[in-house]
Symmetry: C2
Subunit: 253 residues, 2 copies
């Protein structure tokens, strides 16, 4: 059998290339093939000798299979995700495909995960310092998760006073989830709780809004939007959102 290539699972970070890690960039440069959603591949300025395999939204499983097959055929390949490939992104599908094939990473194929700046790290950096204490990340997409599971998580996070990061608040086919989430949270949190809304963080058309839980549905959101909802101690200060301390003195900075 031909020696397999390395399958790099590469975090592109938020839109701006400067928010990518050196290690992720090195993996991209080492790859013979780059595979990913076509919207992102265009931003990568591939070299002439690199093959590009662009796919559409919704073709995630095929994309994972192709990346695995390309590596198995002997080429180093980067499968790319925006943000962090390990957070709600492509890494899981690749491991599921490998398991189905019975190909063990480290034995039958080399897989290297390159972590990155995910959407909520990026959003937090634009808003000030909202993530200084315990937080929960919840996707509002109910395409593959029952809404009652999502609702239960929203309730639990609000009750236990987590800062809450919301992913996938709305898409063309889903328009009621954010309002429903707001209602769940308003039953447990003050309407004045600060909420930061970041759309297209570090990309062209970046929009940053600082508002409140009561008002948060008054602004346009889409699949490129991350919402950060404060805990009971989070305050708004001019256009900044700050969750105090929870700075643990012993945690080295």
């Amino acid at each position: 059998m031909k020696r397999p290539g390395i399958l790099f699972l590469v975090s592109l970070g938020p839109g701006d290339n400067s928010q990518r890690t050196f290690a992720a960039q090195a993996a991209l440069e080492r790859s013979k093939v780059l595979i990913g959603y076509k919207g992102y591949l265009l931003l990568l300025s591939p070299r002439q000798d690199q093959k590009i395999v662009a796919s559409e939204i919704g073709e995630e499983e095929e994309r994972a299979r192709m990346a695995v097959d390309i590596a198995a055929s002997g080429s180093d390949v980067s499968l790319v995700s925006s943000g962090d490939v390990g957070i709600y992104a492509m890494a899981g599908l690749v491991y599921e495909v490998l398991k189905e094939k019975g190909w063990l990473p480290g034995r039958d194929i080399e897989v290297e995960v390159l972590p990155g700046v995910s959407a909520f790290n990026a959003a937090a950096s634009r808003l000030g310092a909202p993530l200084m204490h315990d937080f929960a990340c919840i996707s509002l997409s109910d395409l593959m998760t029952p809404w009652d599971t999502i609702a239960r998580r929203l309730e639990a996070a609000a009750q236990a006073d987590f800062v809450i990061c919301l992913y996938n608040p709305q898409s063309r086919s889903r328009n009621w989830q954010l309002t429903s989430a707001q209602q769940i949270l308003l039953a447990l949190r003050s309407g004045e709780t600060p909420v930061g809304i970041v759309t297209n963080g570090y990309r062209e058309g970046e929009k940053i809004v600082l508002t409140t839980l009561k008002q948060m549905t008054a602004y346009p959101v889409d699949m490129s939007t991350t919402l950060l909802i404060g805990n009971s101690k989070t305050f708004q200060w001019d256009r900044w959102m700050v969750t105090p301390r929870g700075y643990h003195l012993e945690k080295i900075g």
Copy 2:
């Protein structure tokens, strides 16, 4: 008044310099002064013309004040944190110090937050794909947070089936919190739930353990350890930890 410098709040990422972003590195290079915990400053290979202000663990507030004062005096300065400066780290203290002084970022002083790869992004990348679905991050340090708040968050996260990231599991002065957390979680989750333990991720002496909730206290942990506890669907496969799907088809990869 002299034109103030820029205060960069810089995420160093996990130990390995290659896990830093280009933007963070550029901020470090632009700075006249680098300030941070001494253990991290040593890794930065500063230039001859850069001034180093190294401080001890426990001196976080003084460190934040000094960084603010240095920027106010006209020098570009990087205040550095390992991981992401915006996740349980120095960014919040800086905003609190500025508010106390009445200095508004963007008006009286320029502040730029450089996001990065935080400890749990890094840990996840070493374990496979554990963070493919909703997750909650909880610090077990009760130095500045009452234990009953922490316990309530552990319960809520377990009940609502979040993947759980634990920070600060143990220090020299705290040794019972992880066992107590385990007891809380075992009341609500199977003892066979996969748990990944990453110590010194991407640093010298990196240790990766894949175990179960029942067994997780059998391994040494310290302030450089992050634990990832699966949700009810997370599976162990050889030495990998995978949380299936929650891959949202509409989320572009």
